[in-house]
Structure formats: C-alpha cells, structure tokens
C-alpha cells in the first residue's frame, strides 16, 4: 500500500543559457510508489493548471537505459540510490516532510538550456572524434571469424553499458568526462576489431574530451554516481593507451614518411 509524502521541493529554474537562475520552492504531496520523474510530472500538472510554466527536464525511456534524464538531487547525481538513474529512482527513498533540492548538471561543457535541461552535445563530439570502428556497411567478415575470449567480451560489455547520461561529469569536482570517454574508448580498444584504430582513437578522443571538460584527479566520484556502475579501471586503461598512442602514432607517422 502506498503512503503519501508531503514534500518541499527546491527546484532550479532558469529561463535560458544566458539568464540568471534561482531556486523556486514548491510544496507537493505524492504517493511513495511514484517515480521521481512522475513526482515532477505531477508538480507540472499542478503548475500548468495554476497558469504557471512547468519545470523543464529531459527524460524519455524511463527505464534507465536511454540516458536522457539526470539531475542533481540533494547534491548527488541521480539522487541517493546507488546504480540508479533518476527515472528509476522512486519516492520511497524519501520520507514524509523531506525538503529535496533539485539542480541541473553543472559544467562548462554542459551549458544549461532551460531549468534542469543541459546541452550534452560535447559527448557526441567526443564519439565523433574516434569512438567507433571504421567498418563500412557490408564490409564485415563472418562474425565468428575472430574468436574473442569470453572475459574480454564481458569486460567490453562492462564498459559499453555506459548510457551517456553525464552523471560522471556532474559528480566530478573537476567536471571531467574521463569516465565517459574511457568507457566508450576502452570498449573498442579491448576488442580485436578495435585494434587497427586503437592509438589514433586514444589520442583523438582524449584531445577532443579536453576541449570541453576538466581533468581527472582520481577522486572516484564518477564511479559512485554512474547509474551503470562503470569503474574507474577503464580510466587507468585509457591513460595507458593515451601514453602509448603518443609513441605509436609518431612511429607510424615516420613509417608513413618512409613508405
């Protein structure tokens, strides 16, 4: 049976990227079996019927997989439950009478669009810089031609679980995107198919990442915030591949001149 919770919400409201924002306080009563976003839906229904502008927030699948949603809830990315995206967080994690502070991701690389919505295009730019294996449609060989050890495939899958929500950047005291970049890079760098472009990828993705985001100083906040619980081991692997890339890519440049 569901219980009703009386809550005070402090929600960050901001009209646009260049305007100043502030917290607005709302009072609401919701059932504890509602999801966090359903709670916001409900507040928005009330706001609209009271002739006010509803709170903007990004969301879509509400199954924790599309990566659209994500806000800071009481100073924690995606809120208090570990390994849980905002959409999968349910109100029974809160108590009657709680005050909940809701704020957008904040980073220079993620400018605010409106209220709780931020622009995460920088993530797409990082992928575009090299987060792929260049294989033209139709050019693929038989899928079982290259055996891949199960543990390598499993490790690649661990990295690939990233949903691109941006919680790692939001949680990082330096706004670094190393966990995202490392996960996307190492998924490919660990597989035999990804070897040909391994070192150009490592170089290009790191350089592109640093156009937008801060540096990793090994706090480990990102892996705590990650709804898919991706580990910072992948960051270490990225660091190693980046260093190697500096040598390997130069050697290849030399080979190109010779050849």
């Amino acid at each position: 049976m569901s219980n009703m919770l009386n809550l005070t919400l402090k929600v960050w409201r901001q009209d646009g990227p260049d305007t100043a924002g502030q917290f607005q306080t709302y009072k609401t009563t919701v059932a504890d079996d509602a999801s966090f976003l359903e709670m916001l839906d409900y507040v928005n229904e009330e706001l609209i019927e009271a002739d006010e502008i509803p709170i903007s927030f990004d969301h879509d699948c509400r199954e924790g997989i599309c990566g659209s949603c994500g806000v800071m809830i009481d100073g924690r990315a995606h809120g208090p439950q570990k390994g849980t995206a905002t959409c999968q967080l349910h109100m029974r994690q809160f108590s009657d009478g709680d005050t909940i502070e809701i704020e957008p991701w904040r980073a220079a690389g993620f400018p605010i669009i409106k209220d709780l919505v931020v622009n995460r295009a920088a993530f797409d730019r990082i992928i575009e810089s090299g987060g792929y294996i260049s294989v033209t449609t139709g050019a693929a060989e038989e899928a079982n031609a290259i055996p891949i050890p199960k543990h390598a495939a499993d490790a690649a899958m661990d990295a690939a679980a990233c949903i691109g929500c941006g919680a790692c950047v939001a949680a990082c005291p330096n706004s670094a995107a190393n966990l995202f970049t490392a996960a996307k890079m190492q998924q490919l760098n660990m597989l035999p198919q990804g070897q040909a472009e391994r070192y150009t990828r490592s170089n290009d993705m790191v350089e592109r990442m640093e156009q937008f985001f801060g540096s990793c100083t090994n706090y480990g906040e990102c892996q705590e915030a990650c709804p898919k619980e991706i580990t910072i081991d992948f960051i270490a692997m990225m660091n190693r591949d980046y260093v190697k890339s500096q040598l390997v890519n130069r050697r290849r440049l030399g080979e190109k001149k010779v050849g």
Binding site: K10, W12, P17, F23, M72, D74, G75, R76, E101, E103, R106, A107, A108, G109, P111, I113, N119, A121, A122, D124, R125, E128, P173, N174, S175, A176, N178, V206, E207, R208, E210, Q211, F212, F213, G214, S215, C216, T217, N218, Y219, G220, E221, Q223, E224, A225, I232, D233, I235, A236, M237, M238, N239, R240, D241, Y242, V243, Q246, L247, R250, L253
Partner: protein
C-alpha cells in the same frame, strides 16, 4: 565535424582556456604530450614516483640518527662524497639535487596548470550542498597539502641545509643541527604537522600514480591502495619520530 547551422543550444560549447588541438603535429613529443591533462597527470605521476623515492631515501637515511652523532654525521658527509674518487666531491649530490629540483618544478607546474583547467570547467558552482561519496579528505586537499609541504620544504632547507633559519647552525654537524632545531617545541610541532600533511598527500598520491600511469589489473588493484597506505604510514611515522625523539630526549 558537421553540425546544423549555428544553433547555440545544440552545438557543443567552447570552453575558455581548454585544450585546443592543433592540426600540425610538428611539436616535439614531450611538448605535445604535456599539452593534454592526461599527459600532465602522467608526468605528475612519474615525478611523484621520483619524489617518493627521495622522501623514502631521505627518511631511511635519517633513521641513522638513532645510531648516534658519529654514524649520522658520517652518513651526511658520505652524501657529499658519493662516488668521490670518480667524480669531483659533491658532484653526484648536486646531480641528484638538480634532478629533484626538476621533478619538483614539473610536479608543481603540472598541478598548477591542471588546477587552472579545472577551475574553468565549472564556472557556476552547485548551489545546493554537494555530497561527496568517494572523494576523501586526502583527495580533496591535495593542492593544499602539496603547497604546505612545499613551503615546509623551503623552511626545512633553510633550517638544516643552509642554516639561515637555525640560529645554532654548525656546518658539517648534521646531528647537532637537528637536535638544536627540534629542541624548540614549536619547531618540533611544525615538523610534525607538516609531516602529517605529507603523509596525507602521499596517501592519495601513492594510489593515484597507478591510476594516472594506467597500471591497472583487477587482480592486483587491491594492492594499490595497500601500497599507498603502507608507504604513507611508514614515511609519516619515521619522520614524525625525529622531532618527538628530540623532544622526549631520546635523541640529544
């Protein structure tokens, strides 16, 4: 990179002061390498290892203070005459000193540059109270412990190497100088506090180097934290013991 016409909210932002990759790859590789934060962290780790090596050797050599003035002063003297018949007196010591200075410079230089980058990475801070889950005190205070240890080091040189800060300084009597300095309780206290901060710095740094260098294997990852703790604890206990030993009259 193709992106639909100018659409401010859709295009990735330009972040001031951040890495701007150049197309020309003509720069020598150390320069190229050091232009990224990942490269700088790697350099910090390498210089960190060198500095840890120094800290450990320094601590280990100083344990000779418990063997008495003769042993200790002989040890201090031997540093100057290392490989003496082959090289001029003090040559190797100066070589090591220059190396150390270089390590300090790049370690601190990289740290400053990364700090600047990180300060521009979140121009508007969180307005609600942040709750940290993993970033411990050591990790969050690296830049402060680092600076304090650095200024302590300058004092330490002035106190026991150059002698400016030590009124009873006698050139060549390392043992006597140490005792003279640590007999003043406030100096002893200062050394103890500084070494505790050094220990905190080493606690995060000793683990962080593995991460920055990419030394990572699930099988051994548990050892990394163990190493950092052990290293920090040994160095701190030994270093803190010297002023305490003087204060309690064990060394006099």
């Amino acid at each position: 990179m193709t992106q639909a016409t100018e659409r401010p909210g859709a295009e990735a932002p330009k972040v001031k002061g951040h890495h701007n990759p150049s197309d020309a790859k003509a720069k020598p590789w150390p320069v190229e390498f050091m232009s990224t934060a990942v490269g700088k962290k790697w350099i910090m780790a390498i210089s960190g290892i060198a500095l840890m090596g120094f800290v450990f050797a320094h601590m280990f050599g100083n344990l000779k203070i418990y063997l008495g003035p003769t042993d200790y002063n002989d040890y201090a003297h031997s540093l100057r005459t290392l490989l003496h018949p082959i090289f001029p007196n003090g040559f190797l010591l100066w070589l090591m000193r220059l190396g150390l200075i270089a390590m300090f410079l790049i370690h601190i230089g990289s740290a400053i540059s990364l700090t600047r980058m990180n300060q521009t990475s979140r121009p508007v801070k969180y307005q609600s109270q942040r709750r940290y889950l993993a970033a411990d005190f050591a990790a969050r205070t690296m830049r402060w412990t680092g600076w304090i240890v650095f200024f302590y080091l300058i004092y330490h040189l002035a106190d026991l190497t150059w002698g400016w800060a030590n009124p009873d300084f006698v050139y060549g009597d390392a043992y006597g100088n140490v005792v003279a300095s640590f007999e003043r309780w406030y100096i002893a206290l200062f050394y103890i506090v500084a070494n505790l901060l050094l220990g905190i710095h080493l606690y995060h740094g000793g683990w962080s180097i593995f991460q920055s260098l990419g030394v990572n294997s699930p099988r051994y990852n548990g050892i990394r934290r163990g190493f950092a703790v052990t290293f920090a604890v040994i160095v701190t206990i030994a270093n803190v013991s010297f002023p305490l030993a003087v204060q309690f009259g064990i060394v006099s």
